[in-house]
């Protein structure tokens, strides 16, 4: 590591002017990237890690300002004119973003979009550019590139779109690739493929990668050096192995310890079955409008049987589109479904809305998105007590208020805040509010639909602990839906693995994690738990296992 750095950042500040005054997002950081190196910037949301790279690329929002210095091969980037900057960004330094669904323009064929930087920066002819695009698509492992070059973005899956984004970034043989959480929106197996692809491309092309993420698991397997950021400052930096083995800063230690730990013991064998679904089937589509023809049906849940015992937590895992959320909603009778659903022995599969209402008190649901699951126009006091108004309408207002205080206390929120509105709370706090809303009714079964997926690791751990404490205190039964295997392992005592609406494998948690039988489960486990660095994996894995 005696080489000159290609990017060196010195005392970089980023400030945003907002209605509530100046917000200092990045407070004077130093950063170096050497050729061919993978540098990870790790931090939780709001730590300023994305704004740092946005400042380098001149992509700050209009109310943002950058101070300090950032030099790329001796060329100062901060304050560079748009025209000069354009000669560097998109050619020497390129970027891929988190959201592969929105970073491609849906109106243009992907070939045209990849060719854009070639034509623009190199003055290639359209025809030559097309040749190069096909070559690039092959490089990033898109099958049948000669045909796919004319596809529109919506014809590709999420993983393929991210591959296209990578092809676009590679088009001009950049020196440096900035990847801003490139795999966060993807399923674990696809995430592993994309990361392996990036590692392989780096080996082939020798560019430097700046990798921004909140996921330490990825960093450990992917990066050479790590910068840990918090509140706009770099709190620790170092070689990956050194930093992971001997972290010095307490925040780094906290981050490393944030992986949820512990195992849940299964309930006693004689525990009664609370909620049971037999041959549950949910079909979407069909019908259509007055003038449209018959629509293709999608079998989201295909004859699935589960039985949830008292005090049990069933973890439902699977990739997006595997039907796990649909299953949870069908079991709560929030979706029309076929098959039988029994709650405490009574068949509720034919119950209509009115008949279900008294049972709603016992069957609760917590959602993934703590921003979308609370009505922005209600105070959290109103949010929490809404269920009481339905199920115990005779309750006087004062008693309702007392119950709200109790529920908020239980989830670790200050009840004095109950006149505030949801937008005044952080993501973790909102998830606590959503949990309080479910818990105030004293339910017996709670379906947790990815309750921790939208949260930072350290907050995730708190929520997992909270959920476990609540389960112990109230003898709750959980159906825990998640794609995050680490969390599922800590929460569940029984695992159901789903793929395309079917159960692939199920069994006790340890058995599934330690000895997965099905190939799909094995791939899932390998992608999530395996600690081998991506660079040592075979190239075939990167290119071959196309989603």
């Amino acid at each position: 590591m005696t080489q000159e750095s290609i990017l060196s950042v010195r005392d970089l500040h980023v400030e945003f002017e907002t209605n509530d005054g100046m917000v200092h997002a990045v407070r004077g950081i130093d950063l170096d990237v050497k050729p061919g190196e993978t540098v990870a910037i790790v931090g939780e949301s709001g730590s300023g890690k994305s704004q740092t790279t946005m400042a380098l690329m001149g992509l700050l929002a209009s109310n943002g300002r950058a101070r300090g210095s950032a030099t790329y091969r001796g060329q100062e980037l901060i304050g560079l004119s748009e025209r000069k900057l354009n000669r560097i960004r998109g050619e020497k330094i390129t970027m891929i973003f988190q959201e592969p669904m929105t970073s491609l323009d849906p109106l243009y064929r992907i070939g045209r979009q990849i060719a854009e930087p070639l034509v623009f920066h190199r003055g290639m002819s359209r025809k030559a550019a097309r040749e190069r695009v096909i070559e690039l698509l092959e490089l990033v492992g898109i099958p049948d590139p000669a045909r796919r070059v004319d596809a529109y973005p919506h014809e590709l899956s999420g993983g393929q779109r991210q591959r296209v984004m990578i092809a676009m970034a590679l088009a001009n043989d950049p020196d440096m690739l900035i990847a801003d959480e490139p795999t966060t929106a993807l399923d674990v197996t696809i995430q592993a493929q994309i990361l392996a692809l990036l590692a392989e491309l780096q080996r082939k092309l020798g560019m430097a990668i700046v990798f921004i993420t909140h996921d330490l698991g990825i960093v450990r397997r992917f990066a050479d050096r790590v910068y840990v950021m918090r509140y706009g400052e770099v709190v620790e930096e170092g070689e990956t192995s050194v930093l992971f083995d001997t972290p010095k800063h307490p925040y780094t230690m906290e981050l490393l310890a944030a992986e949820p730990t512990g195992r849940k013991a299964p309930p006693p064998l004689e525990a009664p079955i609370l909620l049971e679904g037999r041959d549950v089937e949910v079909v979407f589509g069909g019908g259509g409008g007055w003038f449209s023809g018959p629509e293709a049906e999608i079998r989201a849940v295909d004859r699935i049987s589960v039985a949830l015992h008292k005090g049990q937590t069933i973890g439902v895992v699977g990739e997006s589109g595997s039907g796990k959320s649909t299953l949870g909603r069908a079991l709560l009778r929030l979706l029309p479904s076929e098959g039988t659903v029994r709650f405490e022995g009574a068949d509720i599969s034919a119950a209509d809305k009115r008949a279900m209402r008294p049972m709603r008190k016992e069957l609760q649901l917590v959602f993934q998105d703590p921003f979308g699951s609370l009505s922005p126009r209600m105070t959290i006091g109103q949010v929490v007590t809404e269920g009481l108004k339905v199920h115990e309408p005779q309750l006087p207002a004062r008693e309702r208020d007392r119950r709200a205080i109790e529920a908020l206390d239980e989830v670790g929120l200050d009840p004095a805040m109950r006149n505030r509105y949801p937008h005044e709370f952080s993501g973790g706090q909102r998830q606590r509010i959503a949990i309080a809303r479910a818990m105030i009714l004293k339910p017996k079964v709670v379906v947790l639909d990815e309750p921790t997926s939208a949260l930072d690791r350290s907050v995730q751990k708190q929520i997992v602990d909270l959920l476990r404490d609540l389960q112990k205190a109230h003898d709750l039964s959980y159906l825990f839906i998640s794609h995050d295997l680490a969390v599922v392992r800590a929460m569940a005592d029984h695992i159901v693995v789903m793929k395309q609406g079917r159960i692939v494998e199920e069994g006790p948690t340890d058995a599934i994690f330690d000895h997965p039988r099905e190939a799909y489960t094995q791939a899932l486990m390998a992608a999530a738990i395996d600690g081998t660095p991506f660079r040592q994996q075979t190239g075939a894995f990167a290119a071959g296992l196309i989603d």
Binding site: K353, R360, S373, S375, M378, V390, Y421
Partner: protein
């Protein structure tokens, strides 16, 4: 960054912390928008003038002053000094008595009158009948009341000074009062029609959007059918059936404008319906009516409020159109549209008849549109 993190604040039990709702946030943003605040003030003043003005203003809106037909706008009081003597003379001329020299002192006119027979005291009516004079009386030389049977006396009358700040119209009615009444009627129609559209549209749209499926399909096809009715034709039909009536106008406007509202609210509802907080309410067992009332409508209200502020000027314009065509408000009541129509007819000779109502209407429309824009900016969640 308005979401202050409260993570650290969960220490000892404090008194209740008041929150800042989205509405209050929007209000703060609106207050910072000068154009919107100015518009709101202008609107408030105009509305106040429309409501209170006609009561305290000197001229009733339907009082006709035959002597002052199309009097130009002026800050001076009528009658003008040089018009008093000839007017007095011509009024007195009808009494068929001999008239001496007319003298004007301050606000009284005085002229010796004599006749061969005894003077009939009823001749004062000829003077009183004129809008220029009041309190006409016959006096003797000392200023006492005229003796009965006298053949000569002084006809004395007070000059009645009237102010027509905006002039008078072709029938001799004060334009200012008529504009004030016009503001009252136009704003009333605008607000009432919008409220009607709001009520109908929000309920209809929210129900259609929330229930979805076949019900939604059917309800929105009804809207489509109503959309295809030509507005003017519809109003003419209504007028033919029910006669011209103030209530009818805002019903007609409300009936056509709620269609847009229903579509907007339905669209909003469709997105809100998929929000997780609505699903959460369903999982809590909240009834359909409760979900629509507590979740859908409050959350759809942002765009609706904006649309209403833009709907009010639209309704006012439609009313003006109807009145302009003679289908609207009936004389002697008036509206700004009607006043403009009259003004347009008298444009060449009496431009003020067109200018003042037009300026007023423009001011109202500008203010409403600025306010609507301000509200849209304030309520736009993307700005957060």
């Amino acid at each position: 960054m308005s979401n202050t993190t409260l993570e650290q604040a969960s220490g000892p039990r404090e008194p209740l912390v008041a929150g800042r709702s989205l509405g209050q946030d929007a209000w703060l943003r609106l207050r910072r928008n000068r154009a919107a605040v100015a518009s709101a003030v202008v609107l408030l003043l105009l509305a106040l003038a429309g409501i209170v003005g006609p009561w305290i203003h000197a001229h009733p809106y339907d009082r006709i002053y035959p002597q002052y037909v199309r009097a130009p706008a002026s800050l001076e009081a009528y009658p003008k000094e040089d018009a008093i003597v000839p007017a007095f003379e011509s009024a007195l001329g009808r009494a068929r008595v001999d008239i001496g020299e007319i003298e004007l002192s301050g606000s009284t006119v005085r002229a010796p009158v004599s006749d061969d027979e005894a003077l009939d005291p009823r001749i004062v009516r000829y003077i009183d009948r004129s809008d220029l004079f009041s309190n006409a009386r016959l006096e003797d030389e000392e200023g006492n009341e005229m003796m009965e049977g006298a053949t000569s006396a002084f006809m004395v009358a007070d000059v009645q000074r009237l102010r027509f700040v905006f002039g008078t119209d072709a029938n001799g009615r004060d334009l200012l009062t008529r504009i004030l009444i016009g503001i009252r009627i136009s704003l009333a129609i605008g607000v009432l029609a919008s409220m009607m559209a709001l009520l109908l549209g929000v309920t209809y749209g929210a129900i259609a959007g929330y229930l979805g499926g076949r019900v939604d399909n059917l309800m929105m096809r009804v809207v489509d059918v109503l959309y295809s009715l030509p507005f003017i034709f519809f109003v003419i039909l209504l007028v033919v059936f029910f006669g011209r009536n103030f209530v009818l106008i805002f019903i007609a406007i409300g009936c056509t404008e709620w269609l847009d509202m229903a579509r907007i609210v339905r669209g909003q509802t469709l997105t809100i319906k998929r929000q997780e907080y609505v699903q959460a309410a369903e999982a809590l067992g909240v009834s359909d009516a409760g979900i629509v009332r507590r979740h859908i409508i409050p959350n759809a209200l942002g765009p609706v409020v904006v649309f209403v502020t833009l709907l009010v000027p639209k309704a006012i314009l439609l009313e003006s159109l109807l009145s302009f065509l003679g289908l609207g408000v009936q004389e002697p009541l008036t509206s700004l549209g009607l006043l403009i129509a009259e003004g347009a007819a008298n444009m060449r000779g009496a431009a003020w008849l067109l200018i003042y109502p037009a300026v007023t209407l423009t001011a109202i429309l500008f203010a409403l549109n600025f306010l609507g824009d301000g509200l849209r900016d304030a309520l736009d969640p993307k700005d957060r």
